[in-house]
């Protein structure tokens, strides 16, 4: 059975501006990004190409760029810009005064 959990990750200030940070939620790596414009995204922490740590990547508008070989993933749809690479999982995020929550 599939259960969804809304989980508190951290405070907004724990996320560096324009960058990502790595989390492991119940052992599952996820990467959370905060754009300069203030949006927060959560995506799979591991690049399906060769296992790059996406949290160490960069943002290119609303895409995450893997630090290993620069494959780009849309932070919302998870789609990859390289043909033949599967999309990554993305997770809904909500930012409240109480902190940042991800639904997994």
């Amino acid at each position: 059975m599939l259960t969804l959990n809304r989980i508190a990750l951290c405070q907004l200030a724990d996320l560096p501006v324009g960058l990502g940070r790595a989390f492991e939620v119940d052992g599952k790596p996820i990467a959370v990004f905060r754009t300069r414009a203030g949006k927060v995204f959560a995506v799979d922490g591991i690049c399906p190409h060769k296992g790059g740590m996406l949290a160490d990547g960069m943002l290119s508008e609303e895409s995450v760029v893997c630090p290993y070989h620069a494959f780009k993933y849309d932070a919302i749809t998870g789609e990859c810009d390289q043909q033949g690479t599967c999309a990554i999982e993305t997770f809904p995020v909500d930012v409240t005064d109480a902190g940042i929550f991800v639904t997994i």
């Binding site: 996320l15 324009g18 960058l19 790595a22 939620v25 300069r36 508008e61 290993y68």
Partner: protein, 822 residues
């Protein structure tokens, strides 16, 4: 225009098509076939003797003369083969064909075929004379030839080119740009015997001699003479005379590669015989390109090939099984050494009843000649000014009657004489603009109307301008006429993709507007945001603003954020500075202790003369740096990397200068300097060059006389380039100053990720000498001041161990467990 080859969902029985030869004909044939057959009825494999994807052989002349880089002349990248499901056997020469079993064999690979296409092209003809195997004797046909010639020419002062045809003259021109004095030797009585008559040949000879090339005609080469190290030293002629030289390029004609076909039992004469369907005498085997002989003709230019490949593709795909190739009428415009030349028909073939119309203007080196037979133009050559060429080509191609006042061939009302504006708008749509690819005006205009408004875009859509390139001016004119201003692919000159400005303009804008951070530049000047542009801007802003630069880490690649190189498992490598590669027992002990304390999985000497601690966790970086107590070696970031040195006078019995001393001083002075790409240096204590200074971005070699020779623009990684000599200086201080000026000039003028091996040839070493050594722009003092300013702005990044600059900079992933469900 080239359709991707999509696989049909319903499986069909595909035909196995094998092509031998990945040259201009072979690759073009596949393109044509795929274009006509998007349903992918063929399983295509292609063998290429050369180890590359296919490239535009015509443009090798440009590669040799330095006006184009080898990587610019590729027609299809390797990915194109994969994208179209073409099996490409690169570097595999087909050595045998079993026609019975329908299998071709190449070293270690075999492919079965239903249909086989020969596109083996031709090879240079080397006359059977003594000495052709000496070092320094070259032919000119492939990319490798081109590279080898250019490399060898660096150490040469004089060269002889055997053969005064089109290719020989192109080779001569290419060699001139390598500062080699060239003599062209032609066996026939005049140059370019195929395209020109005696008078035309003489005019051409005068023209090229003005360019500084010596031409010897009617000279029969007897032998190449070498020295004791088997290097060529001269050319001996039948009349006993000798021309001394350091290298030779043989360009004495071509021979079709027909041997494989002949050995397989296919009918051959001068080349592989094909009929109007391009079939050989085996109904499953076809031929296209320079390896075939059709109706007695073996062509040596690309225009006929395009007609052949198109015809064959139409036939094989079944789109037009009646398509035939009946031969090509050749009218070509060529550019040899900057001399315009047009040729059509056989100029040497004059019958007693022919009328010959000529016009010559020796002062301008203009020469026009046309042969009129039975009232029609059957041949012509024109040199120097191609004003009437289009008209003449039209007479020649359409075989329409020549004007009764024959001189109107050259001076009709329609003829554009030199200097007058060409009215492109008035040309008929059917007028051919690109002769190499047979593209006419109508096709180009259509592309422009469809939004292809730059020369490269038109080229991509129609192929026009992608051959020899001589029609690019016309295409630009058409774009201007149809769509307004010409877009000369401006993005070429941009510093980074996201900001449509070249570097000097960008720098000026940032200074004027006071933009000190990447986000500020993006907000004010960019069209979009991408990681490459962010990195490039960060490096540039840091060099403009020094201590005032606002460092935003989200503009930087992970290595530059945490000052270490990321590894394939997410750990990092730490390389401390070891100035000039000289260390001490205490430092080594400390490195060893750190390695033990953090259980470093690998401790390795790098290719750059220092020690790498590999496999460090991100969260351990601050601790490792603190325990080492050494500055960062900047093995990440586009910055000064290593300064390799040899022991020099300190210990070596040959050393004439203190290379370690200079190396250490250089590394201390320029540490932390960021550049558009990484910079590596080497200092050698004598010309034995043990620190490989001749393949560094900046190399310094002590001369036997005790001076320092400063070298720039070298590398020995993915690109190997030998340095150029910038200058010689007497003292260490002079060396430091010249190098500082060069580095800042490079930093401020190079494009993002343009290493010195591209930058130096782009600016030109002569030019650089003027700017850096002679201070022709009067910027020397400014460059010196920049060095000081940049030194002052240097802070060892490893000090961030005490105070991380952003949240989570050195943290491990934060672990969160799920609430336990009851």
């Amino acid at each position: 225009m080239i359709q991707p080859n999509t696989i049909r969902e319903t499986p069909i029985t595909r035909q196995r098509l094998v092509v031998i030869g990945n040259g201009m004909a072979g690759a073009r044939f596949i393109e044509d076939l795929i274009g006509l057959d998007p349903s992918h009825a063929f399983d295509i494999s292609i063998f290429g003797d050369e180890p590359y994807g296919n490239y535009n052989r015509i443009l090798l002349s440009n590669v040799l003369n330095g006006s184009q880089d080898a990587k610019e002349i590729f027609l299809n990248p390797l990915a194109w083969y994969a994208d179209n499901q073409i099996t490409f056997h690169a570097g595999k020469k087909v050595t045998r064909i079993d026609r019975e079993a329908k299998i071709v064999y190449a070293d270690g690979v075999e492919e079965a075929y239903d249909t086989l296409v020969f596109a083996t092209g031709s090879r240079p003809f080397v006359p059977p004379i003594a000495g052709t195997s000496l070092h320094g004797v070259f032919v000119f046909r492939t990319l490798d030839d081109c590279r080898n010639i250019a490399e060898y020419a660096k150490d040469c002062k004089t060269a002889v080119v055997i053969g005064g045809g089109l290719l020989g003259l192109e080779a001569a021109k290419g060699l001139m740009t390598h500062n080699v004095k060239v003599t062209v030797v032609e066996m026939g009585p005049w140059l370019m015997g195929v395209q020109l008559d005696a008078d035309g040949g003489k005019v051409l000879q005068q023209t090229i001699e003005k360019l500084g090339i010596t031409a010897l005609t009617g000279a029969s080469t007897k032998e190449f003479a070498g020295d004791e190290t088997n290097r060529v030293k001269g050319v001996k002629f039948a009349d006993g005379s000798i021309v001394e030289c350091d290298m030779v390029v043989v360009s004495a004609g071509i021979r079709p590669n027909k041997e494989l076909a002949a050995e397989s039992g296919l009918a051959c004469d001068r080349a592989i015989l094909v009929d109007d369907t391009l079939q050989t005498n085996d109904p499953s085997i076809y031929g296209v390109g320079e390896c075939v002989q059709h109706r007695g003709m073996v062509y040596g230019l690309v225009a006929p090939i395009w007609e052949q490949t198109k015809t064959l593709a139409l036939r094989l795909t079944g789109l037009n099984t009646a398509a035939t190739y009946t031969g090509s009428k050749l009218a070509t415009k060529l550019k040899v050494m900057g001399v315009e030349l047009a040729s059509m028909g056989r100029i040497s073939d004059v019958k007693p009843t022919d009328e010959v119309v000529t016009f010559a203007e020796p002062a301008r080196q203009v020469y026009w000649k046309a042969i009129v037979r039975e009232g029609k133009v059957v041949a012509s050559c024109m040199l120097g000014d191609l004003g009437p060429a289009d008209e003449l080509v039209d007479y020649f191609m359409t075989e329409k009657p020549a004007p009764s006042r024959r001189l109107e061939l050259f001076f009709s009302a329609n003829t554009q004489t030199h200097g007058t504006e060409i009215s492109l708008a008035d040309l008929p749509d059917a007028k051919q603009i690109c002769d190499c690819n047979g593209v006419c005006k109508g096709t180009i205009v259509k592309a422009i109307l469809a939004g292809k408004t730059s020369v490269p875009m038109v080229g991509k859509a129609t192929r026009a301008g992608t051959g020899c390139g001589s029609c690019k001016k016309m295409i630009a004119g058409l774009i201007e006429a149809v769509a307004g201003a010409v877009k000369a692919d401006p993005s070429e000159s941009w510093y980074v993709p996201a900001v449509p400005l070249d570097k000097p303009t960008l720098v000026a804008e940032c200074k004027k507007r006071g933009l000190k951070s990447v986000s500020a530049v993006l907000a004010e000047l960019a069209t979009h945001e991408d990681e490459k542009s962010k990195n490039g801007l960060a490096s540039m802003l840091k060099s403009i603003w020094g201590t005032e630069y606002i460092d935003e880490r989200d503009a930087r690649y992970v290595n530059d954020r945490v000052h270490a190189n990321i590894q394939k498992d997410g750990t990092f490598s730490v390389i401390p500075r070891v100035y000039g590669g000289v260390t001490t027992a205490d430092d080594l002990i400390r490195i060893g202790e750190v390695a033990k304390k953090y259980s470093v999985p690998m401790v390795k000497f790098t290719g750059g003369q220092r020690i790498d601690l590999l496999g460090i966790k991100k969260e351990d970086l601050p601790g490792v740096w603190a325990d080492l107590g050494m500055p960062s070696g900047y093995a990440y970031t586009k910055a000064l990397r290593t300064v390799k040195t040899c022991v020099g006078t300190e210990f070596c019995r040959y050393g004439t200068n203190d290379s370690t001393g200079l190396g250490i001083a250089l590394e201390k002075r320029f540490q932390g300097f960021e550049f558009p790409a990484k910079v590596k240096m080497g200092v050698s204590g004598c010309p034995r060059n043990c620190s490989e200074s001749t393949v560094k971005d900046v190399g310094i070699v002590a001369t036997e006389g005790g001076e320092w020779e400063i070298l720039v623009g070298g590398a020995a990684g993915a690109h190997v380039r030998r340095t150029d000599i910038l200058c010689r200086v007497k003292t260490r201080d002079e060396a430091m100053q010249v190098i500082g000026r060069f580095l800042i000039y490079y930093r401020d003028n190079a494009k993002w990720i343009e290493r010195t091996y591209d930058f130096v040839p782009r600016i030109g070493i002569e030019n650089l000498r003027k700017i850096i050594v002679a201070d022709s722009l009067g910027i020397g003092a400014e460059l010196d001041a920049e060095v000081e300013k940049t030194m002052a702005a240097y802070v060892d990044p490893w000090l961030e161990r005490d105070q991380p600059v952003y949240a989570g900079q050195f943290s491990e992933p934060r672990k969160i467990s799920l609430p336990v469900l009851l």
